[in-house]
C-alpha cells in the first residue's frame, strides 16, 4: 500500500514537472530567465513559463545564502552569495506554483517567495 502510494506520488510529481533532458536544455545561456534573491524577496516576483517547454532559470543571491524550493516543480537549490545557479525545468501542467526560500535568512524569511505561472 505504502509502495503504491509512493509510486502514485512519484507519477504525479513527474506529470507536473518532468526533469529536462540534455536535448531539452536551451542552448544559449542568454535564454535563461534571470532571478535575483536578496533578503527577503525574489526579483521578479512572478515569471511565466509555457507548459511542456523546457526553460532555464538563472538564480543569483545578492546577499546571504538563500534556498530556492518548489516541491511540484521539482527543485531545491542552495544559493550561495554571488554564485549563479542554473535550474532546468520543463513544467507539464498549467497552474500557479509558489517558490520559497527554504534556508532561514532572517526575520522576514517566512515571507520570501515568488510565483511561477505555467501557461
Amino acid at each position: 500500500m505504502k509502495i503504491a502510494r509512493l509510486t502514485l506520488a512519484l507519477l504525479c510529481a513527474a506529470a507536473i514537472a518532468a526533469p529536462a533532458s540534455p536535448q531539452d536544455e536551451p542552448a544559449a545561456s542568454d535564454s535563461a530567465i534571470a532571478i535575483t534573491a536578496k533578503r527577503f524577496e525574489f526579483q521578479p516576483a512572478e515569471i511565466h513559463l509555457k507548459a511542456g517547454e523546457p526553460a532555464t532559470l538563472a538564480v543569483t543571491s545578492q546577499d546571504v545564502t538563500h534556498g530556492f524550493f518548489s516541491r511540484p516543480l521539482g527543485f531545491d537549490e542552495e544559493l550561495s552569495p554571488g554564485k549563479t545557479v542554473q535550474i532546468h525545468v520543463k513544467p507539464e501542467k498549467p497552474g500557479r506554483y509558489t517558490v520559497i526560500c527554504d534556508e532561514f535568512c532572517g526575520s522576514g524569511h517566512g515571507g520570501m517567495k515568488m510565483t511561477v505561472v505555467v501557461e
Partner: protein, 326 residues
C-alpha cells in the same frame, strides 16, 4: 483477567490552557496495573503511572509588532496558569521559536535570557526545550546550546520515551543524517510496544511545503518510528492547531503564544492574523484534545478561556532597565 492491550493503555487526553496544551496520560485500571507494570517495567526502567504535561510553543520572546504589540504577555499568562493548575504537570515541553531572532549584537542573547527568566517561573519539576528556526538557524544552534545543551536528546518519564528532535539548525527544514543515525540507535533500545512522544518544531510530514510547513527528511523519521505502536508527535511552527494521523502516529500542532497564522486552505496569504486588543489571547488558542490509540478517533474541544487581567509584562524594555541583560 484479560491481558492488557498496551495500545489501549496508552491514552492521551489534553486540555489546552489557552497557551499550550496540557496532556494527561491515563494509567491502566487498577486491576490492570500489575499487567502494565509487567509489560513496561524493565523496558526503560520505569513503571507507568498517570501524569500530565504541558506543551508551549512559539513564544517568540523579543517579537513586538502589529500582530502582537504586547510581547510576552501571553507567555507570562500561560506560566501563571500552569502554576495555578492542580495537579501541576510533571513536565513542560517547549517546541521551538522560544525567541525571535535578531542580528543586532547581543540582542538575541538578551532575548534568550529573557525567555529563561520567564520560563524559570514555571513551578514544575522539569522543563525541556527544542529550538525553532528563529532560535537556531542563523548560528547553527550555538546560542541555544549555551542556554539549554544539545538540540536533540531523549529521556524517559513514567514509562513513556520522549524524543526531542531538531529540524531547524541546518538552516533548511531537515533533521540531517547524523541526527537520523542517532534516532535509529536511540530507538533500537525499545520494544515496539513502548509509548513514544516526539517533540520538535516543524511538522514531520508535508503539511504545506509552499508555506515551509514540512521537514524534508521527515519521512525518514517516520520510517524509523513506523515499527512502534504508539507514537505521538507534538510540534509548533504553524501557529495554529492541527491534528493529523498517519499509521500508528498522531501528529498535533500547538497554537502559538505570540500570534496565529490563518488556515492555508482558505486561500489567504501567509500573514499573521490581526491582533485584537479587546481579546488579546484570541487565536492563541483554547483547546481541549482527547486522543487515543489507533482505534479511537482524535477529539478536539474548543474551550473559552476567562482572561485574568494581567498586571503587565516583563518585556525587553523593563528587562534592560533592571540591568539584567546589558
Amino acid at each position: 483477567m484479560k491481558p492488557l492491550d498496551r495500545r489501549r493503555f496508552f491514552k492521551i487526553s489534553a486540555v489546552s490552557l489557552g497557551a499550550g496544551a496540557l496532556y494527561r496520560f491515563a494509567a491502566p485500571a487498577l486491576g490492570q496495573a500489575g499487567e502494565a507494570a509487567r509489560l513496561l517495567g524493565g523496558k526503560n526502567g520505569e513503571t507507568p503511572t498517570s501524569f500530565s504535561f504541558v506543551q508551549f510553543s512559539d513564544t517568540h520572546v523579543g517579537f513586538n509588532g502589529p500582530p502582537n504589540p504586547e510581547g510576552t504577555r501571553a507567555f507570562e499568562r500561560a506560566v501563571e496558569m500552569v502554576n495555578a493548575s492542580s495537579p501541576r504537570p510533571d513536565l513542560v515541553l517547549f517546541t521551538g521559536d522560544l525567541t525571535h531572532d535578531s542580528e543586532k549584537p547581543g540582542e538575541h542573547a538578551d532575548r534568550m535570557r529573557l525567555f529563561r527568566k520567564i520560563s524559570s517561573g514555571l513551578e514544575v519539576p522539569k522543563v525541556y526545550c527544542v529550538p525553532g528556526e528563529h532560535d537556531a538557524a542563523l548560528d547553527g544552534g550555538a546560542l541555544f546550546r549555551d542556554a539549554f545543551g544539545e538540540t536533540h536528546y531523549s529521556f524517559d518519564h513514567r514509562g513513556v520515551h520522549f524524543i526531542g528532535l531538531d529540524n531547524v539548525s541546518l538552516k533548511k527544514p531537515a533533521i540531517g543524517r547524523e541526527q537520523l543515525d542517532w534516532l535509529r540507535k536511540d530507538l533500537s533500545r525499545f520494544p515496539a510496544t513502548t509509548p513514544i512522544i516526539v517533540f520538535t518544531h516543524r511538522p514531520l510530514f508535508d503539511l504545506r511545503p509552499d508555506w515551509e510547513w514540512f521537514t524534508s527528511d521527515g519521512d525518514q523519521v517516520m520510517q524509523a518510528l513506523a515499527p512502534y505502536e504508539n507514537v505521538t508527535v507534538l510540534y509548533g511552527h504553524i501557529h495554529r492547531e492541527h491534528a493529523h494521523r498517519e499509521g500508528n502516529t498522531a501528529h498535533y500542532a500547538s497554537r502559538s503564544l505570540i500570534f496565529a497564522f490563518p488556515d492555508p486552505d482558505t486561500g489567504v496569504p501567509k500573514k499573521p492574523l490581526p491582533f485584537d486588543g479587546t481579546k488579546p489571547f484570541d487565536n492563541l488558542g483554547i483547546r481541549r484534545i482527547t486522543a487515543g490509540d489507533a482505534s479511537q478517533p482524535v477529539r478536539l474541544d474548543e474551550v473559552e478561556l476567562t482572561v485574568k487581567e494581567h498586571a503587565g509584562t516583563i518585556g525587553m524594555q523593563q528587562f534592560r532597565k533592571e540591568g539584567e541583560a546589558l
